[in-house]
Symmetry: C2
Subunit: 307 residues, 2 copies
DNA sequence: AGTATCAATAGAGTTTATCTATTACGCAGA
DNA sequence: TCTGCGTAATAGATAAACTCTATTGATACT
């Protein structure tokens, strides 16, 4: 059976493509690494490395084995992490991925209580377009992610957090601004601004426009909710903005007008997700409940459905 | 870092719950296993085993670690298998899971050519209710499975094979038997027989009955297509049977009548599935193409869509 | 109390991993 | 063509690990 050390050496070599440097990285001497990789090849009975004096290459099989070795080593690392957490309680950094259209407006409500509850936890927040969050979660870039539903990946645990209404906004001098209540038919042929592709809001607003017969202004896609707000304020068009964004960035300012719409179910559904194999499963479950509780108690615009 | 040997010992102990027996299983002496597991616990800094004289137990953490160790060891085994296949070509047994409503009627067309193409391959076919096939595939009970779509598991590779029409059948003296062409409205209030729950056909026929306003005879659910056929022949009701079944088991017999239905899209979609991490990926891709080719050439009732 | 069962401990032997020192190979430049 | 440089492989010594046999210690059963 190949040893974990040998697999580590192979992974190091696959990344450095250079025996001496790979050995350095592993804190062993070059002959050690050479010999062990020879043993590995002999044990497996196959060539993994193409040795030539003009650079080291892995064989196709070598690359495949190295890729699998990475998974194996991650599994072993997880076992160690798990033991460490169990022995010393949790301490360290959780890397949290959030969509830019939600993170800055939700996290300020969450982080203080999270910190109070888990003082030894370090939260490292990274914004990413939601379309790539699930994949990055799996690849190990994040430990935890706030994701828009629906997501169907069986190797992720998905816990629903809440639903966030999308509110229709327009410029104060827009002809819709004077209406008391906006109905479905008012939206026909309206010009609608949306986030650029890669954001869940993009796809959702696209569908809404289809349903209402509104025109999506594809040439004016926003790169952030703030740019959308500015364009709406300038009268370029109307837009659907998430309730939490409205709450924190618009509030009572009269730069743009929030419309009353008698159409239900314009909302996005938000969930917390982590790798099924995560060593922090129970912590993340606790965090799920914490966020749901905060949403229920402090954020009345959100809809928290029973689990 | 824990060694693979130590993880193996832990897994053996977790299954035997007995040091001596676990040691025997691993072909080492009991002190060896004891000492190594002590080392493992010391390295990880946690208790994995509850030692008492009234039986050995694992701690909750021990169980969790053992479960992860199994995955790690499987990963290493995969690496060895991969190398072995690459060195010696494929030989051995592929365990194929099939739904009972498809396997016996499809495989006779496939197996001979498969055997001709891969003489050193051993096919071990197991019938399982389709609802459990995906899970069993992941758990390692099968290497490959023929599954009804849709299936959305991201840790499986799903390759569409073909679509198989479902044909409406009734007893020769049934009042529909005399109709040249059966239309949607003819089905209203008809009594329909279906497979029992757990089969994809069950769910699909349930939906069809909803759409057509037909009555599903829940008290007469079939445990096999053959029992359905018998009940249809006895005039209990009508049924939707897969085209391949009709071809092989009914053919020109006049025991029951196959009706002409002018409703399209009554068909089931069949795919081949394997674990994403399978070492046989390229073989399974070849098999996919082989089956698609056979379906196209020899089985005109099937619909093979371009990939 | 005596015995059987089971896991832990002790100490020796063997295997394995790693190190230092050296060799072998190819390439670039004089 | 020779020399010097960079690279990986080989040899031999040393240290660490794994495993074995033999034994002890603890508990349950008779």
């Amino acid at each position: 059976m190949p040893s974990l050390r040998q697999l580590e050496y192979l992974v190091a070599l696959s990344q450095e493509l250079h025996f001496r440097r790979a050995a350095e990285r592993m804190n062993v001497t070059q002959p050690t690494l050479s010999v062990q990789l020879q043993h590995l090849e002999k044990d497996l009975g196959v060539a993994l490395i193409e040795r030539s004096h003009s650079g080291v290459m892995l064989t196709p099989l070598g690359r495949e084995v190295a890729a699998r070795a990475i998974d194996v080593l991650r599994g072993v690392q997880d076992i160690q992490d798990l033991a460490h957490i169990s022995a010393n309680g949790f301490e360290g950094t959780i890397r949290l991925g959030v969509p830019p259209t939600l993170g800055p407006y939700l996290l300020p409500h969450i982080v203080p209580k999270l910190h109070a509850e888990y003082p030894s936890m370090n939260l490292y927040v990274r914004e990413e377009k939601p379309v790539s969050l699930a994949q990055q979660l799996l690849s190990g870039k994040h430990d935890l992610a706030i994701v828009p539903m629906p997501i169907t990946r069986s190797d992720l645990v998905i816990q629903k957090l809440f639903e966030e209404p999308l509110r229709l906004v327009c410029a104060p001098d827009h002809h819709l601004a004077s209406k008391k209540v906006v109905t479905k038919t008012d939206l026909k042929s309206e010009r609608v601004l949306a986030m650029e592709s890669g954001h869940h809001l993009h796809d959702q607003v696209t569908r809404l426009c289809d349903v209402f017969g509104a025109t999506l202004l594809r040439d004016y896609e926003g790169t952030s909710l703030d740019t959308l707000r500015l364009m709406v304020g300038m009268g370029v068009g109307i837009a659907f903005l998430p309730a939490l964004y409205i709450r924190s960035e618009i509030g009572t300012r009269d730069e743009i007008t929030v419309l009353d719409v008698n159409i239900s179910n314009i909302r996005r559904s938000i969930a917390l997700a982590w790798r099924q194999s995560s060593v922090h499963a129970s912590l993340f479950n606790d965090i799920t409940h914490l966020i749901r509780t905060i949403a229920k108690q402090d954020l009345p615009e959100l809809i928290v459905t029973p689990e």
